[in-house]
């Protein structure tokens, strides 16, 4: 069963690289990011976060990235819309710095964790996360709904053709 985690991890890294390195074709980049999101959803389910895994696929892969694709199609950004980005030295230096940061991040937490804690019954299911969300964190929940409302209003105003 463990091998499945590494398969999902490989898919997600490949998808992320595919998105970042997609110079010509933005649609292909968005699709490889969809692969990353679905693979991450699988990893969440393996980490016993069932509700978050389902919501990851439902919201991220099923709505947010569709919105990205929709905007790309709306603006009709075809292959010849993008000039090639020529900065090989700058990109090489940034990749090296990125690798250095990654090595530092990984060495910080290697070996500093004990065994995982015993999980309570129904950990990560929609019932227990829902109970915690609606009892301990209910204010957070209500504020989030206000945030979504303001985002919706803002997007409608930004995308209108003219304000009359």
């Amino acid at each position: 069963m463990e091998i499945l985690f590494y398969v999902f991890a490989a898919i997600s890294v490949a998808g992320a690289l595919g998105m970042v390195l997609s110079v010509r074709n933005t649609v292909a980049g968005a699709l490889s990011l969809v692969g990353t999101m679905v693979a991450l959803g699988g990893i969440y389910v393996m980490l016993e976060a069932y509700l978050i895994g389902a919501l990851q696929v439902l919201i991220y892969a099923g709505a947010i990235l569709v919105l990205f694709l929709f905007v790309v199609m709306l603006l009709n950004l075809r292959r010849d819309s993008f000039t090639p980005e020529r900065q090989p030295v700058g990109k090489a230096i940034s990749v090296l710095i990125g690798l250095a940061v990654l090595v530092q991040l990984v060495t910080v937490f290697l070996g500093s964790f004990g065994p995982p804690a015993e999980l309570s019954e129904g950990f990560g299911t929609y019932r227990s996360v829902g109970i915690e969300l609606f009892t301990d964190y209910v204010l957070l929940f209500e504020v989030t709904s206000l945030l979504l409302l303001s985002a919706m209003v803002g997007a409608v105003i930004l995308a209108k053709r003219k304000i009359d």
């Binding site: 649609v27 509700l51 569709v66």
Partner: protein, 383 residues
Amino acid sequence: MIEIVLKMLFIVLVIMGAFLPLITWVERKQSAVMQDRIGANRADIMGVTILGLLHPAADVLKLLSKEDVVPRGANRVLHLLAPVIAMVPAIIVMAVIPYGSTYRFGDHDLNLVVADIDWGMLYVFAVGSLATYGAVIAGWASNNNWSLLGSMRASSQMISYEVTMGLSVVGLFMAYGTLKLPEMAAFQDQTFRLLGFVEHFALVETLPAWLAWIQLPMWGIFLQPLGFILFLTCIMAENKRPPFDAPEGESEIIAGYHMEYSGMRFGLFYTAEFLEVPVIGMLVATLFLGGWAIPWLPQAAIIGGVTPVFGEGFATAFCMILHVVSFLVKTIVLIWLQMALRWTLPRFRYDQVMDLCWKMILPLSIANIFATGAVILFLQGRA
């Protein structure tokens, strides 16, 4: 392990192998019967035509033998990928739908569902939302303005109806208390007294016996009638079934997003669209029509009734077969209903489709949630 493979084989052989060709035939024959004509009956093998039942095979042969055309300037990889992405969610949704309950053979429990996951309906919604990509990419990859227009209509219609599809069944989840599809079907195996609500309003303690025999099976359609209508509308619109097929409007934008697809690529889109019909039927049957449950005959009653005569093993197997047959019958009724709706209602205009979603179905489904919550609170308060 071998059990899961056998269950998957059952679904593949019965639903995809037997139902799918039959549905293309039913589409033609039912529309013919409804329109008072004969329908397609010319395909024959050596002069033997059986009511046109050979037409699905003829269709497949025709699609397989056509030239594989990719339009110039189209992205070849995406053009090939789109029908595959359209087809996969339709197939894997069937993994959580139970076509039978749990049967005890000796000391072994046989649960007739491929994946018994706790959050079954969330899985259905998550996988169903991935189906959007098939339509989106097909239009983009064809390098064609009509296709792009069709695919933009398709994507906005599908993501709008996903929202209302989820909201319209929240009342049902509150009534059942679970997201697990096998548990929902098992919950619907019981009956409830139709006039039981009188006990709460009138001053009698219990319902008199001559009124208590009026019992309805505790199906979703009786607990949530508005939810049934809303969910059926939303799931038909989500899968772009007529009358919601504005994205593939044959008279407006010439087949929309699958215009540049011919041969077996179109065959995959065709299969995906016709596979959605039994999947919608199975899902709605499990949620609202009791799934595998036979009305007024719970599983215990069937097994208890047959055991004295034929023994327990045979009784369980008999009950299992009855349940699977009842599930398939309900699916067939819903397939008939979808076909009837297709050939009766004219196609909605695109802005009518979006208006229906956001201005009529969304407020109604939220009102349904409030009403269900109020009723549950009232019943719990009195009990």
